[in-house]
Homo-oligomer: 314 residues x 2
């Protein structure tokens, strides 16, 4: 698939940070930055700009806050055309500071929100645009929202200056037809805006659904190295780059950083489409129960977990 | 997805046997038979009926030959509506004996072939039908065949009594659009025949591609427990059953046999979408080089393997 407009976002540090409280070493973050730079990836998301009031330092590593100076420590001296992104939860904005974009190493601010918090997201979009940042709006958990509320949110976002709105399958529930439906709905209600896609891999469909997004004109697409991310993880960046035929992309630097860093890391940190994540995906549920059960000695008691989850729906 | 005509085939013992020379214990084969019976699966494939001339006993376990008496040892005393299937390679037929179907525990014979061997496959179809078996024709490795040869094979198979012809993505190369194209081509050239689908998971697309087959009217669909199978493995049966909404299917027996047998087995035997399989999938190559490299101390030297595979294409 070659389409010049397609831009790729690497979420390794940001979504991966959700499984280690954002404690990645500088060495690793630099290695990822070098790899995605060499691979021709367009954007790299380095973490959250969280409030220290809601997320007390000591509980989290540096990539929970992504201070501009911390980012500079990583990127200084590395040649790169990669644009940097951070994520902000619209419903957890407090004292966080954002420098004017031309004084910051950050190019893009992605605003994560729920349909019900869309007004908070819009306020943040406006604030970030006034400072000169690119923005995206990522409405999460849409597979468990009613469509009326989604449409209402989209119609409001349509009037903002944000450039991109993401279809986000937080629960790893969707298959192709639902992706087609959602992307079509977003395009219809967001004239002139770019559509992004961010998928989770509960049912081993993150890459497939990302392809379906691309086939239906999503032009900002997310992946992460070896699929790292919370719970079942994300669309593996290596599969995505193998699929995109734009010669600006190169697979070797991605394979190299996977063999050097991700394989050893996977021995220490767990992510992927293990059965409890399959179960929450099939049932269209938040992965938190699956994440919790994987930390207990019942982590492979699938029948018990399935029955518990299924009966919670009654 | 509910469509009454959809039948599911479990390939655990047959495709899984390719990674342990078909040495499964009777206990395990019985456990799988009980599980798929309780889960409402339609067919279970127990292995190959290979020639002892080409495959000398001593090199292989019982499921390389699937003698009728061996199968009876497994199924005797277990209540089940599951139909049993065996696979035969059309290009390796020698002294194998097939009893008349009404004297055999076997219901279906699946004939694996290449486009170039289609005449051998047709001879075997006719022989098996004369004995009273259901048959399928599974033309392998079609992603690396030219379409003229595929169409010629299909046009010949169209005239045989076989009931089902499979779209087989042996190399795990296809994505949705190619599955749509192939299924359409098969339907066009095989009027009145059922189309089956058998996918490999090199690019984590086996389940997604199986869904795409189902969406385009494939009605005999293959899966295996926890995706076991050669190389990257197959479409995971648990994902398939989670997707199919026919109430005759039940997920619990499948989860149970996975937690009791497949999780410990995965510690001993390797299958799944490891990076060397990703690479052969992306490059549309037979997985044999990836299987080989995974048995060496270079198993995680992805860059080297990628460059070697890519350059072999020149």
């Amino acid at each position: 698939m070659f389409r010049e407009d397609i831009k790729v976002m690497d979420c390794t540090i940001r979504d991966g940070g959700l499984i280690n409280d954002h404690y990645f070493t500088d060495e690793f973050v630099k290695a990822v930055y070098r790899a995605v730079s060499a691979a021709g990836i367009d954007y790299m998301e380095v973490g959250y700009r969280s409030s220290r009031k809601y997320a007390p330092p000591g509980d989290f590593g540096a990539w929970k806050y992504c201070d501009d100076d911390k980012i500079r420590e990583i990127i200084d001296g590395i040649e790169s055309n990669v644009k940097l992104s951070i994520m902000v939860d619209a419903h957890r904005v407090a004292e966080q500071h954002f420098a004017p974009a031309d004084e910051s190493p950050i190019d893009m601010i992605r605003i994560a929100t729920y349909a019900k918090d869309i007004d908070k997201a819009i306020a943040l979009v406006n604030r970030c645009h006034d400072l000169g940042y690119e923005t995206t709006v990522n409405i999460m958990a849409i597979s468990a929202e009613n469509e009326y509320d989604i449409v209402e949110a989209l119609d409001q976002v349509a009037k903002t200056p944000t450039g991109t709105v993401y279809v986000v399958d937080s629960y790893g529930y969707f298959f192709s037809e639902q992706i087609h439906h959602m992307v079509k709905l977003y395009k219809e209600h967001l004239p002139g805006k770019r559509i992004g896609i961010h998928c989770h891999n509960n049912q081993q469909l993150a890459f497939a659904n990302t392809i379906e997004g691309i086939r239906h004109d999503c032009n900002l697409v997310d992946g992460s190295l070896y699929g790292i991310g919370r719970g079942a993880g994300n669309c593996p960046l290596e599969l995505l780059v193998g699929f995109l035929k734009n010669p600006k992309f190169s697979l070797e630097p991605i394979l190299k950083v996977i063999q050097e860093y991700m394989i050893p890391m996977r021995e220490e940190l767990e992510w992927g489409a293990m059965i409890p994540y399959v179960i929450t995906g099939i049932l269209n549920r938040h992965p938190r129960s699956a994440i919790a059960v994987r930390k207990t000695d019942k982590k492979d008691k699938y029948v018990e977990f399935f029955e518990e989850m299924r009966d919670m729906q009654d």
